[in-house]
């Protein structure tokens, strides 16, 4: 028997029913693969974090030490990670209440599925801020908070907040001035040997420039000044120069101050009073 063609309403209902089932099956499969992929990615990152290869470089710019940390990140999942941005806030309440530095990725990073990408964080520790004198001379444990924002599998925004500790290495750690015994010279001046000692603890930072030292009497009159050429990478530095001061110069109670001037960097170091 020849069956008549179904009505448009019947066919529409049938098409809609099939579409609803297909959409559900597709979404269930998508959800399952997203979950599996997220676990794979998480495990991959956990494995990677144990042996994270990162490179740090530092430079002196203006009144700041700029630290660039670069590290690779892998995505072992199937789905892309898009728009990944990192913001890090560095603070230490005992040094100053306001954040010492705030940094973020220059541009959002994308990591394809089963691919990898490189994240670069440029952190500027401005030594002209209130924490500057402390950070110039002292190493410190700085608390960091890292905020990660990304979009996973195109439809799932993820925000991660991680606390971490950052060890700050001071570029002029343990800066001291040793003033030797003044010796009268035949030309009517006094020869004063001054030794400057400091340690550069900032990883990857080359301290290159001139250390200009000024000895000022307690009445505010400058006694003598001298410049020390500095060229050092990490480690201790000891520089000795002989200063020639007028006979009238009262060294007892005088202050010794220095300014470091490098390529694009100019900062005053803390003063010290001579005994």
């Amino acid at each position: 028997m020849l069956q008549p063609k179904p009505s448009a309403l019947y066919r529409l209902a049938q098409v809609l029913r099939v579409l609803a089932i297909l959409a559900l099956v597709f979404l269930v499969l998508f959800l399952a693969t997203v979950a599996y992929s997220a676990v794979e990615m998480g495990e991959g990152i956990a494995r990677q974090s144990g042996s994270l290869q990162h490179s740090d470089t530092a430079s002196l710019v203006g009144t700041a030490v700029v630290v660039n940390v670069t590290f690779p990140i892998r995505n072992d999942g199937y789905y892309n990670v898009r728009g990944l941005t990192l913001v890090a806030i560095f603070s230490n309440d005992t040094i100053q209440s306001a954040p010492i530095a705030v940094t973020e990725t220059a541009a959002p990073v994308s990591i394809p599925g089963h691919g990898s990408s490189t994240i670069s964080l440029l952190t500027e520790f401005d030594l002209a801020n209130p924490a500057g004198p402390f950070l110039l001379l002292n190493d410190a444990n700085i608390n960091g908070t890292l905020f990660l924002n990304a979009s996973y599998a195109a439809v799932i925004p993820v925000n991660l907040e991680v606390g971490f500790h950052y060890h700050w290495g001071a570029p002029f750690a343990n800066l001291t001035y040793d003033v030797g015994t003044p010796t009268p010279e035949s030309n009517g001046t006094i020869a004063v040997p001054v030794t400057v000692h400091f340690e550069n603890h900032t990883p990857g930072l080359s301290v290159v420039g001139m250390l200009n030292v000024v000895v000022t009497q307690s009445n505010g009159t400058a006694c003598t000044r001298q410049s020390f050429p500095v060229h050092t990478t990490e480690g201790p530095v000891t520089l000795t120069q002989t200063f020639y001061a007028p006979e009238t110069c009262q060294l007892s109670g005088a202050t010794i101050a220095s300014t470091f001037v490098g390529s694009g960097f100019d900062i005053s170091l803390p003063t010290e009073t001579l005994p």
């Binding site: 028997m1 020849l2 069956q3 008549p4 063609k5 179904p6 009505s7 309403l9 019947y10 529409l12 209902a13 809609l16 029913r17 579409l19 609803a20 089932i21 959409a23 559900l24 979404l27 998508f30 959800l31 997203v34 439809v155 799932i156 925004p157 993820v158 925000n159 991660l160 907040e161 991680v162 606390g163």
Partner: protein, 170 residues
């Protein structure tokens, strides 16, 4: 479809099977399967996650109750297929699914803290995708109900043709 008028000339005779024992068994099986997937699986996933300190975004009891209703309505839809109630039951089933997803969308944020890591996942966009199948299902239910009202013999004659009479489309 008891009480339905006979099909007009040209339509094959049809045999509404009624709500048989086999159909009820099928409906119960589907209900149990759905309940396992929509009610119990999320419940146990939350319990599993709680062992690792992950907080539950949705009350476990709510998941089980809502999952049961979703599963029950899906089973009822199977049981009532040979009747005129099928369309309205599908509308109810898809409508409840929609309401359930819309309810979950009220707070689509999962936030937890593990070992000092504070993790927030926003799954609103993902849930919005899950509005699509019930929305299409709701439309299908409405169209089926309208079809059953306008041509009460048509769906049954195609879906439940008399035995030994395979439909031949012309």
């Amino acid at each position: 479809m008891s009480g339905s008028p006979s099909p007009p000339a040209g339509y094959p005779p049809y045999e509404p099977p009624g709500v048989s024992g086999a159909r009820i068994a099928g409906a119960v099986s589907l209900t149990l399967l759905y309940f396992g997937l929509v009610g119990l699986l999320p419940y146990y996933l939350e319990q599993y996650a709680a062992r690792y300190g992950l907080s539950a975004p949705i009350e476990p009891a709510f998941l089980v109750i809502a999952g049961f209703i979703v599963a029950f309505l899906a089973g009822l839809s199977v049981a009532t297929k040979p009747t005129r109630a099928w369309g309205p039951v599908r509308v109810m089933s898809a409508g409840f699914d929609l309401i359930y997803v819309v309810y979950l969308l009220q707070n689509p944020v999962y936030a937890t803290t593990i070992r000092g890591f504070s993790l927030t996942i926003t799954y609103g966009h993902l849930l919005e995708l899950f509005l699509i199948p019930p929305a299409i299902g709701l439309l299908a239910g409405i169209v089926t109900t309208l079809g059953d009202i306008r041509r009460p013999w048509e769906r049954i004659s195609f879906q439940f043709p008399q035995r030994a009479m395979a439909p031949v489309y012309g």
